[in-house]
């Protein structure tokens, strides 16, 4: 879809982004600002999650920011009169969801349900895009994983994201609240949390190479596909602009799959140096590990025309450049 078409869809549109100071949310807010949308960012800025005020530094366009915790705050003022709601709020760490399952319940289920309730009551015409995760599939039975794959999450986060997906289907069916769900896999790029591995292992890797320390690669042969954040943002916009008649849940991948050790090599090469050690999986992680994953995202591509545009090498290079300039804001 051309830039002009996206501009036609979003210029002047009233958009709310829950979790809009976070990694993907802030990149989406910046892009929507550039497209001429009127963007309301809501974020709780909870410690341990992805929200970071610096993520909107230097952003253009009409962006307003409200710091509010949607687990408790009245959600209606944030959705009333809005045409689009992107829900990027939530907890994404798999191990984090096992360590604090009740927090994960609130951050993922409660917030999603409260936002949908607010839409039902105060913005029944709004289109909702919900960021879900490949984790709803659990351990893949086959690769690449398409949307017909059984849903059998193997961690608390996957259970809660699946329940939140089901809310969206239910509210569409019963109340006519339109929505699309994107099942994202490892997304990376500028503005992700790199303080630790709570937003994918890549965060911890990036920090280590930037600080000149070796990073840990667990096991190394596991396959993943990665999505550069600009491509994920494009998918979110297209989901809102194009899938209105379809709704439903869609996989988003990133093109070629890669073994973690090869990814580590690519990161070191993009950085012009660095070092890593290969370690066995820690026990706690092994128990919730899903093995190899690779998304079959042909359904979404067919419906929307989306495809990933940023190669892994370009994406890693851009990411490292961003953090070299802004490292202090992310430590």
């Amino acid at each position: 879809m051309s830039e002009e078409t996206l501009r036609a869809a979003f210029a002047g549109a009233r958009v709310t982004i829950a979790g809009g100071l976070g990694f993907i949310g802030s990149n989406l807010a910046r892009r929507l600002g550039d497209l001429g949308a009127e963007v309301l960012v809501v974020d709780a800025l909870l410690p341990g999650l992805g929200g970071n005020r610096h993520n909107l530094d230097g952003a253009h366009g009409r962006l307003a920011v409200e710091v509010a915790d949607l687990r408790e705050a009245d959600a209606i003022p944030f959705v009333e009169g809005r045409e689009y709601l992107f829900n990027l709020a939530g907890q994404t760490s798999h191990q984090g969801s096992m360590d604090a399952p009740l927090d994960d319940l609130d951050l993922n289920c409660r917030v999603a349900l409260r936002l949908l309730e607010a839409c039902r009551k105060a913005a029944p015409e709004a289109f909702v895009v919900f960021a879900s995760t490949r984790q709803v599939y659990g351990k893949p039975h086959y690769l690449p994983v398409d949307e017909q794959h059984p849903l059998a999450p193997v961690d608390v986060n996957g259970i809660h994201k699946l329940a939140a997906e089901a809310y969206h289907a239910l509210y569409r069916e019963v109340y006519g609240v339109k929505s699309a769900v994107l099942r994202l896999t490892n997304t990376y790029g500028p503005r992700m949390r790199i303080k630790d591995a709570r937003q994918t292992f890549l965060g911890a890797w990036l920090r280590a190479v930037l600080e000149g320390r070796p990073f840990e690669v667990w096991e190394g042969e596991q396959l993943r596909d990665l999505t550069y954040v600009d491509d994920a943002v494009e998918a979110l916009l297209l989901a809102a602009a194009v899938t209105e008649a379809e709704g439903g849940a869609f996989n988003i991948g990133g093109g070629r799959r890669i073994a973690l050790k090869r990814l580590a090599d690519a990161l070191v090469a993009a950085n012009g140096g660095g070092d890593y050690v290969v370690e066995p999986f820690p026990d706690a992680r092994k128990r919730i590990d899903i093995g190899d994953y690779h998304a079959d995202d042909r359904l979404f591509r067919r419906i929307t025309g989306w495809k990933p545009r940023v190669t892994l090498n370009d994406g890693l290079t851009r990411t490292l450049e961003y953090y070299r300039d802004h490292l202090a804001a992310y430590l």
Copy 2:
């Protein structure tokens, strides 16, 4: 399984029943008391749910009652040192879950997760039996519904019960907390809530015939199978005593399926009089209705030897007798 075998399993056993002042929970507590178990009943006695202090009137054996709200109260003291935990707590009304979805989230997901967390930390050897619902299947694609049927709940309650089932599978897999999940369908009998239809439509029907008022049958041709509460209690006990090696989720039915209008006729006959009117489904109910349901419970029967023993006519007669003697306690 013979009475002697159940007695061998539960005599002297330390058992906790969450929701033990409710309909099924209190019948289970009474039976366990008779079997010689040491029973700790925990119940929040929340308005609108099934808890009723009268439900343990005249019960025999070693029964202790704690009124506590497991959404917030520390669950560890209730599970520490216990061999069995039966989780019968929760909200069961489908329409109730649509009217107050966040309450349903807390009452079903939060409580189940907190109990499992408490078991993981303080009672890793306890065996957990969780009362789930046929509602996890959504609209049946075929009848009778077996455990292979797709899981696609069509109301908030079904979404939350499915998430709670998934917690049990996860805690078994990751932490070794043993459990069985029973997917109950319409259960009826003494000690159910008859103030309104929040514990199946039959509650409202029973109250009306007992008070000499006509009751409403919606549509009338819909098929259901009903489980008399003594049979449901037997299934819960067998799940704990027999399925330890198997775990997993099992359907529980009640034998013959019956159209609602025929059920209404049977109730009127058992009562020796009464009247009903057939009405179309109210709109809000129609939107979350699942159509016909009939459980295929052969898997559970094969593993445990369970079968329903109380015929519909006997069950209705016993139920009416109970309420004639105790009506004031249920209004």
